[in-house]
Symmetry: C2
Subunit: 186 residues, 2 copies
Amino acid sequence: MPRWESDAQGRLERAALDLFESQGFERTSVAQIARAAGLTERSFYRYFPDKREVLFAGDELEAHLVAGVEAADPGLTPFEALLTALGTADEIFRPRDFLLRRVAVVAANPALAERDLIKLADIADALTGALERRGVEPGEARFTIDVAIAVSRRATSRWLADPDAALADLIVQAADELRRAVAPTR
Amino acid sequence: MPRWESDAQGRLERAALDLFESQGFERTSVAQIARAAGLTERSFYRYFPDKREVLFAGDELEAHLVAGVEAADPGLTPFEALLTALGTADEIFRPRDFLLRRVAVVAANPALAERDLIKLADIADALTGALERRGVEPGEARFTIDVAIAVSRRATSRWLADPDAALADLIVQAADELRRAVAPTR
């Protein structure tokens, strides 16, 4: 059982998802989430700054990806270093059934969909720093990250739908599709 | 002189930018923007649903890009059709000095930066529909759009910095860089 299954943060995340599904995001309070998780409101705020944040797992993914880029073989291109890091994201992903429910709840609530976009932009900013430390010029870094995130989105949506697939393999597949999609026709 | 220079919408946009720069986004009211533009609050709401929207020019860009994709040569790949449309965005861009000031104001105000992300996501959604009408499967459409938008962001940031460059040329240049950046090293 992954660590989060049994800890307070995990209980809060699952309680929040249950409540957002059953009664909607807007009508759910932090107090209700904490109570459903058997915790106090004060405990909630130890893990999350606000209600919108509870489905976004703090900065775990960002920290994991930055560490992955920093640890990647220096001989890799910036794009390859990013894909290598993004291919390990499933190491810290929540269980697939939780993520599938989460995707639906986020899509149904504009406040959560906005937070999702902001989180992704924050991750892109953090990765820009990680690539710059590998000697990549900032504009090129940002460009390469935008493209790598597109590859990751394509791979992750397939990973969510296919219990037998490995995320790293799906990223390789999506990168191959990218190369074909951008090939000149002439 | 482009149409927006002399019309009410343009006056509101310029007044808002002046006020956001001089006193900050949070401290500026819709009433102040309208007054500075020589218009009523009621007129403001004829053009924009709220204060956050005033720097985002309604749905002009989205409509322009969707029309561009729909009009693109059916023989073009989805990626080429998108780049062709994105390369004409400067036809409806505001003047460069306005856009440069706008970039700085948006970056300095989290509420505007969020709206910027949401606008971009809305444009991506709209373009997905346009590609689907060209027969592209939704997942592939979204992926290709994410990549094309990355190319467009790279090109547009250069266009803003270089008064002599044509956006369409910078998009071709960024697409070439993309092909090099994603090439396998083996």
